[in-house]
């Protein structure tokens, strides 16, 4: 197996207990980290002078309903996440000085789908987190304005959850004529 990249090596050194798994499948460096350490990991990635991941390129989630997350056959497991994991929130960071990308994933349990918000570090996280709330029903602690963004108030359910029925009808909203 190829040696880990600088980013993954530094992450494992700095956060030995909270990096749960790493892989570099198809060249994409990936680390799975514990939810409670997400903000400190993100701050470290952003502020460490050797890394400087200054762009939050993308923030999304995947619903692994009833399955173990299957991100890569090369996954190296370093620790075990808590029980009842359903979602993974996926962050794609890009470092302009390093010209590298890294993917950080946070397991989210079904019983309490909450992740700490990174809006304090990147202004762009605001809308991305609103979209994840809208589509997956994952709440972001510390978000200044967690409203639906693509759908409307009064929409029932979160459509990108795997158990959202494809043909579900929504109640009619607005003035009834």
């Amino acid at each position: 197996m190829a040696p880990d990249s600088l980013t993954l090596r530094k992450l494992k050194e700095r956060f030995p207990g909270s990096v749960l798994a790493v892989h570099s499948y198809r060249g994409d460096d990936t680390a799975v980290v514990k939810g409670e350490d997400l903000v400190s990991v993100a701050r470290f990635l952003k502020e460490d002078p050797e890394l400087q991941y200054n762009f939050l390129m993308d923030l999304t989630a995947v619903d692994y309903l009833g399955q173990e997350p299957f991100d890569s056959p090369q996954r190296v497991v370093l620790g075990s996440a808590q029980e009842g994991i359903r979602f993974e929130v996926v962050y794609h960071f890009y470092s302009l000085p390093l010209n590298q990308r890294v993917r950080i994933k946070v397991p989210v349990p079904e019983s309490d789908p909450t992740v700490d918000s990174v809006t304090g570090l990147w202004a762009g996280a605001n809308w991305f987190e609103r979209e994840v709330w809208d589509m997956f029903g994952i709440r972001f602690k510390g978000h200044p304005d967690l409203r639906r963004i693509l759908l409307y108030d009064g929409f029932e359910g979160h459509p990108l959850q795997k158990d959202y029925p494809l043909r579900k009808r929504q109640p009619r909203i607005g003035p009834q004529v």
């Binding site: 198809r26 060249g27 890569s72 056959p73 302009l96 990308r101 993917r103 809308w127 963004i149 409307y152």
Partner: protein, 449 residues
């Protein structure tokens, strides 16, 4: 922050609430900006999006990999080819396959043609909103030359559905090189006219210079990419930073602005069109040649003759001979097919001669289009970024090993820019909303997906 009650009280005498959109003529597509005005000054702006949400990502989770292509056309409908190729490259990365040389050049050329149409539409519409109707008409005329190229290659103008996992739908038609050169010549002459009409135009500059300013730090913090980021002076272009297709083999520059204002964004886009034309010209030169046009003696072969030659065992030459299929299959016959598609039988549909000509071809075709049989990337995930018209267009694809993608995420480049829009509007005048919003180049299809 005042509480709502107090604000409502103030509204009466000092501030006014104005809802701009969702059906305002200057709203490209449908969005709404809730404005709080103090006289003509924007005190607060709140952007409401989602009017064009069509559940792109949910749809993709329910069909096989190749069936997602028509929907990617409808993300950024001004440069649909780039979306096609971005999605195709993400799935190819997941499969671990590399497309053929000729296919890479085709994708590069078509992406750049799309980028020019994208920038032309943007500059044309935003100039029209400032009163320059002739600029709009000239640019639409120039865009027509490029859309004729796109039509010649893909068979359609807007919803082209030309990308395929492992290749493209069809090879270039004959004579495309000359047609492209002619189209670029026309575009250059139109762009010269646009330069002379706009670049030093007093009215245009008054509306654009120092309007809609965003700092480098803010742009990076919002995750803004593309011409918008480059107008602030950050040299980030996916094509240069992490080259894909054949961008690293060509000689071109990344134009940069300095102030991050509307005028800089206009200049960056104008220069990028010129750079895209340079890329197209070089790529057309370097591109590996297409299949044989005729048989070994220089004349087109009739199918019965082919059979005769085949009986004599002269099959090697025949593989390179161009066949005339029906016009809607042009460019998809076997010699072309081999040049633009990967040879992987588990990924790419066979050429039509084989599908209709023998049982193996028919079975291969059948296995790929049947539900629960098609392309099956191994379990895993991949993120592939390409430079779209508005910036980094990323596709994040997760496979669970079946023929249906488990998750397809599109990172739309104008989403972060729209998130930053209030920052640029607040403190400015109402009239400045129009040029600033115009320079965002919001595309409803990719913003709301």
């Amino acid at each position: 922050m005042m509480d709502t009650q107090a604000e409502v009280g103030r509204t009466h005498d000092e501030t006014m609430t104005l809802r701009m959109g969702p059906a305002h003529p200057a709203m490209h597509g449908i969005i709404q900006i809730d404005l709080r005005l103090e006289g003509e000054v924007v005190v607060r702006a709140d952007v409401e999006i989602g009017y064009l949400h069509r559940a792109f990502e949910k749809h993709c989770e329910n069909v096989s990999y190749n069936k997602c292509f028509p929907w990617t056309d409808r993300l950024n409908y001004v440069s649909p080819l780039i979306n096609n190729f971005g999605y195709a490259m993400a799935v190819e990365k997941l499969l671990g396959i590399e497309v053929t040389e000729r296919c890479k050049y085709i994708r590069t050329i078509m992406s750049e043609i799309s980028r020019i149409t994208d920038h032309m539409t943007n500059i044309g519409t935003s100039a029209m909103e400032l009163g320059a109707m002739s600029v709009f008409l000239y640019l639409m005329k120039a865009r027509e030359y490029l859309w004729e190229l796109i039509e010649a290659v893909t068979g359609a103008r807007v919803t082209i559905c030309y990308g395929r996992v492992g290749g493209v739908k069809a090879d270039f038609p004959d004579g495309l090189k000359e047609q492209t050169r002619g189209a670029l010549r026309e575009c250059r002459s139109v762009l010269r006219e646009i330069h002379s009409l706009l670049t030093k135009n007093r009215i245009f500059m008054d509306r654009m210079v120092n309007v809609g300013v965003i700092s480098q730090e803010d742009a990076i913090s919002y995750g803004i990419t593309g011409p918008f980021l480059r107008s602030t002076g950050v040299p980030y272009d996916v094509r240069k930073a992490q080259p894909y297709m054949v961008y690293d083999r060509l000689d071109w520059d990344v134009p940069l602005g300095s102030n991050g204002e509307n005028y800089d964004r206009y200049l960056v886009r104008m220069e990028e069109m010129e750079q895209s034309m340079r890329i197209i010209e070089q790529a057309l030169e370097q591109m590996p040649p297409g299949p044989y046009q005729v048989d070994i003696e220089g004349k087109p072969l009739e199918p019965p003759e082919m059979v005769d030659l085949g009986k004599l065992g002269k099959t090697r030459e025949l593989l390179g001979v161009k066949l005339d299929l029906s016009p809607n299959l042009r460019g998809m016959d076997r010699p072309h097919h081999q040049l633009v598609n990967v040879p992987d039988k588990k990924v790419v549909l066979p050429p039509k001669e084989l599908t209709y000509g023998n049982i193996e071809g028919l079975m291969q075709h059948f296995k790929l289009v049947m539900d629960e049989h098609g392309i099956r990337p191994p379990r895993g995930e991949a993120y592939q970024a390409v430079e779209g018209g508005n910036g980094e267009l990323g596709f994040y694809v997760v496979s669970d090993g079946t023929d249906i993608p488990y998750r397809v995420r599109c990172r739309p480049p104008c989403f972060p820019i729209m998130a930053a829009l209030p920052r640029m509007l607040e403190g400015g005048m109402v009239a400045d909303i129009v040029p600033t919003f115009g320079s965002v180049n919001m595309i409803g299809g990719e913003l709301d997906r």
